[in-house]
Amino acid sequence: MKAAPSFPVVKPSSLLPVIAIVLAAAIFVVDTVTDLEIAVPVFYTAVILISVRFCTRRGVIFVGLGCIGLTLLSDILTPQTSTSAAGIINTTISVLAIVSITYLVLKTEAAERSVYEARAQLAHVARVTTLGELTASLAHEVNQPITATVANATAGLRWLSAEPPDLDEARAAIERIVRDANRAGTIVGRVRGLTKRAPAQKVPCDINDVILEIATLTSSEFYKRHVKLRTELPRDLPKANADPVQLQQVVLNLVMNAVESMDAVPEAKRSLFIGSARNPAGGITVTVRDTGLGLKGDEDAERIFAPFYTTKSNGMGLGLTITQSIVESHGGRIWAEANTPKGMVFRFTLPDMPGTS
């Protein structure tokens, strides 16, 4: 995952600092030399807006302070207006404008940056949750000690059947096998640690909040891929006893699968529905419906939950398996059916809070 770029995000042209300085100088000269009763220094706000493109946060604050300084200096150097009421008011207005713009501009940049970071986080979470890239690199890592072991074992056998047997080489080969097998064992342990979740920390959970959080997180994906989202999240939904982080993983997995399945469908026909409802039998039901490719000819709606089953060229086939295991460990059920005319419908249930009817 790439680190978030340091502020600013856009690389500036080296012309901008020059423009800013020239503009500031021009405003200062006009302000000092003329005795116009207008708040010329308000134009320093333009200098601040330009400086945002090439300065750090601290830099922008310095530019702001600098402009205030120039305003006051200019005021002192213009004795005619410095003591008049209009002059004082103009100076005050200008300083307030500069302070306001500096503050607003810094706030906007901070907001843009946090959006960028949230998107990078989402990409990371999506990858790790569906174990795509991670599993591929783990498979590679396990393959290396296996390859080495095949070679070491073959070599060891050959050394033992040599005339005379080379015991030192054979021993060294076997020691390498032990070392490599242990290394492979560590890697497998790491995989197990990832797919087994930490014990669920169940709390009363509003599934609608979870769905809305995921919808917000993935909103840029919907925008990029032209997916229309519709939700139906009734307000009086009972709470479920669940681990919100694990529920987020479930919803994220289903939403990302749906979105990706619609890549091959014309843009106008991409539509995702997420709904929650009270289950008449108790608990709640969540529905995720897409208009993607749906089940292939011989696929059945149960096989897609099997481990390592995937239709993606770079998928590892564990996303739905993990999702199913989370839902079931919460006492719920998950199943899939075909959507008409095309696409998939995934539904999962979660039981009521214990103690409710």
Binding site: T147, V150, A155, G156
Partner: protein
């Protein structure tokens, strides 16, 4: 005393490198391992190397790129590529560059021997 031709094993993974050189030794070959393509090119063993066995995916120069360097010479050292990630595109590029053997890990001793036989007898 003439120096016997040696097989170079180029792989950044220590386990695979040591195991492969060990296997070649048990088969009676002279062999030396290198942790990177760079290390091999900078060593002064190119003239006495009869065959290169190189991993495709390595940090820095890949096995395929290494062969690209070797082809600059009059008689490029025959190269066998080994990989944990079989990739049709890379296999095609290797073949068009003149590499006839693209082994997928874990490879058997027979595959390795057959490839070495094939490249050193021509």
């Amino acid at each position: 005393m003439t120096i016997k031709p040696s097989i170079a094993v180029v792989d950044d993974d220590e386990s695979v490198r040591e195991a492969t050189t060990g296997l070649l030794r048990s088969l009676g070959f002279i062999t030396k391992g290198f942790a990177s393509a760079d290390e091999f090119l900078k060593s002064n063993r190119l003239k006495i190397t009869s065959c290169v066995i190189a991993d495709v995916q390595m940090p820095g120069m890949s096995g395929l790129a290494l062969y690209g360097h070797l082809t600059a010479a009059l008689n490029p050292i025959p190269t066998i590529l080994i990989t944990a990630y079989p990739d049709d595109e890379i296999r095609a590029r290797a073949f068009s560059a003149g590499i006839r053997h693209y082994l997928v890990k874990p490879f058997s001793e027979k595959e390795l021997l057959d490839s070495i036989d094939d490249v050193t007898k021509h």
